[in-house]
Point group: C2
Chain length 371, copies 2
């Protein structure tokens, strides 16, 4: 080998994270998901024992905090969702989450791509070296944001779907005096074995791609095979038999089920950073409020003081109604409100005309309850 | 590179199939699955246009064909199942499939590992070069075996689960005058998009393993990562939320759900040949009796003259009751008989004490019907 064809020495090679940070991300940016704000909550120590310096939370607010500070609503985000998606689906005049009435704060979870995430974190926690996070980490970080940056002392409602439901449960158990009402939609307080195996399978689909290289990929294209396998699993677990039986892709203008999977599911996920997704999937898998009570789920949910509506989706393949009901029954004064949908877990995307009406009806009832 | 460290020239290297054929297979053999017989049905032309020379079908018989030849029962096999498994689950004195009353023929499907399969087929159709097969190929091959080798002219019953149900439907549509009764258990006449995506995901899990090498692996260990991902998907789709919720792995002596997946699901699949499984998965994906009628499922199922009991499993994640019901409603005089189980699709393994009683009750009723 001659000097002329030698690769750059290690010190000259940019780290993967540096490559990713060197240009604006084509998906995680203000143009696609903004406007959002960034709050620096300082040095954040994760449950896994890492110190993330100058941790940034990306968030948006709608409406105004009233003088009594009684109208704050926290909305959390799901695996594929950002504050922009939540805003589009849940927030608006005349909706249950009406900015005329509530001060609505939507906080993007850590590793969401907006705010501190594997893909945009510098050494020594860059990309593949990013620490393992937990749902509790998200909730602790959000608590800092709400109490120290936004002056919020109580929450009229915490609401979120899927991983957002995990955060909602965690909030109600961890800060019971602060959370007055909670609406976990399509998610668990403690993950099941069934769902854990599903999450593991999603992670293996990506991580097994040689291009993933333990998170050291330099371009999304290098992980496309793995990401397409990840999409392929969502195709049957994120949707459901009912969706395909009724050909509900047709009203969206797709020519076939395969066309839908490529044009909707792949189009959604292939824009995202694989390492960010893997960090989130790991959180999702291990979500468990009973870690606060030595594994006793009843004791954990017994701490909840909020009025809770547990809102599973009728056709959800991995957060099925029955598992949600068993958790709901452990929460005093709670109610089970099943959301009817033929879209499976992806009912969350609110494509069905009947979806938002159901969500708003239940949230309006919950918000009307005296606490 | 010197001559001394050069690899063997191509002509000196054994083909993968030759390696696999050079020693008895540790799983696909008479000791594990026997005794079974092999019938040579001659040169078999697949629907994909390949001629498989001296095609071997592995089968077993129980009981005796009566003089009127009216008591023959055909049992087909599923993805992971061989004739031995079917025998253990379905056949016995006092059972619906009683060898004292019926001449029961269990035929292992092509690519099952027993009989002609990718792993044991010589050049030019060895291993990765094995032709694409279809459910119709299986049924045509079985028809040759039954009519030309075993002297069977009519079938009192065709019964099978999962891929065996696909073959059962294909039999009833393709040879309506020969099939008097049919019991497809936990399977479709025409595969759904939902199930097709599931099958695709299973295949991708294995084929994406660099060790699979397009089917040119020389040892099962080389594909273990992919096979474990394949197992990981079965863990949540083959079983179901109910199974894990009720911790039904406990009565089997496992310490945890993960222990069960490794000790039961992985233990089952990791013995099998990946290429054989991929060939079967491809058949499963494309199973569709309406290919006989230009895509018209009603027309295909309208050809059926058999009395049919459609027997879905209540918790099946990929052959759900509702999809089975829609097919059943297209078959004149048929009935829907739902098998109650908390094991999902793996209810087929008949681990639950209530399972065989249900199967036998329905099959006894079906066999008692005049035709």
């Amino acid at each position: 080998m001659t000097a002329s064809d030698s690769p750059a020495s290690p010190s000259e090679q940019p780290t993967p994270a540096a490559v990713l940070q060197s240009t604006p991300h084509p998906y995680y940016n203000q143009a696609v998901h903004g406007p959002y704000q960034l709050a620096n909550i300082g040095d954040f120590v994760t449950e896994s024992g890492a110190t993330l310096r100058s941790t940034q939370l990306a968030y948006v607010t709608h409406g105004t905090l009233n003088p009594g500070r009684t109208n704050a609503v926290l909305m959390t985000t799901w695996y594929s969702g950002t504050s922009k998606i939540m805003e589009q689906i849940f927030v608006g005049p005349g909706r249950a989450l009406d900015p005329e009435k509530y001060f609505i704060v939507i906080v993007n979870q850590l590793a969401s791509g907006l705010g501190t995430s594997p893909h945009n974190t510098p050494l020594p926690w860059d990309g593949p070296n990013f620490p393992q996070l937990s749902i509790a980490d998200d909730v602790r970080a959000q608590h800092t944001l709400l109490t120290e940056h936004l002056g919020i002392t109580q929450l009229a409602l915490v609401v979120g779907g899927s991983m957002g439901a995990q955060q909602t449960y965690e909030w109600a158990v961890r800060y019971p005096d602060m959370v007055k009402r909670a609406a976990p939609i399509a998610g668990f307080a403690r993950n099941t074995d069934h769902d854990r195996f599903y999450g593991e399978s999603l992670m293996q689909a990506v991580k097994s791609d040689p291009g993933y290289a333990g998170g050291r990929y330099k371009d999304l294209c290098e992980v496309e095979d793995g990401m397409r396998r990840h999409v392929g699993i969502w195709a049957y677990m994120g949707l459901c038999p009912e969706f395909y039986r009724r050909q509900l892709w047709k009203p969206l203008g797709f020519a076939s089920a395969t066309d839908f999977v490529n044009g909707f599911v792949a189009a959604l996920f292939l824009q995202m950073d694989p390492g960010d997704l893997m960090c989130k999937a790991s959180k999702w898998q291990r979500g468990d409020v009973s870690l606060q009570t030595g594994g006793d789920l009843g004791a954990a949910l017994g701490r909840v003081k909020a009025r809770v509506f547990v809102m599973p989706i009728s056709t959800d393949q991995f957060f099925p109604v029955e598992d949600c009901r068993l958790e709901q029954q452990l929460i005093a004064g709670s109610e089970l409100r099943v959301i009817e949908s033929n879209w499976g877990h992806f009912g969350l995307f609110a494509v069905e005309p009947e979806y938002n009406e159901q969500i708003d009806r239940h949230l309006n009832e919950l918000l009307a309850l005296e606490v």
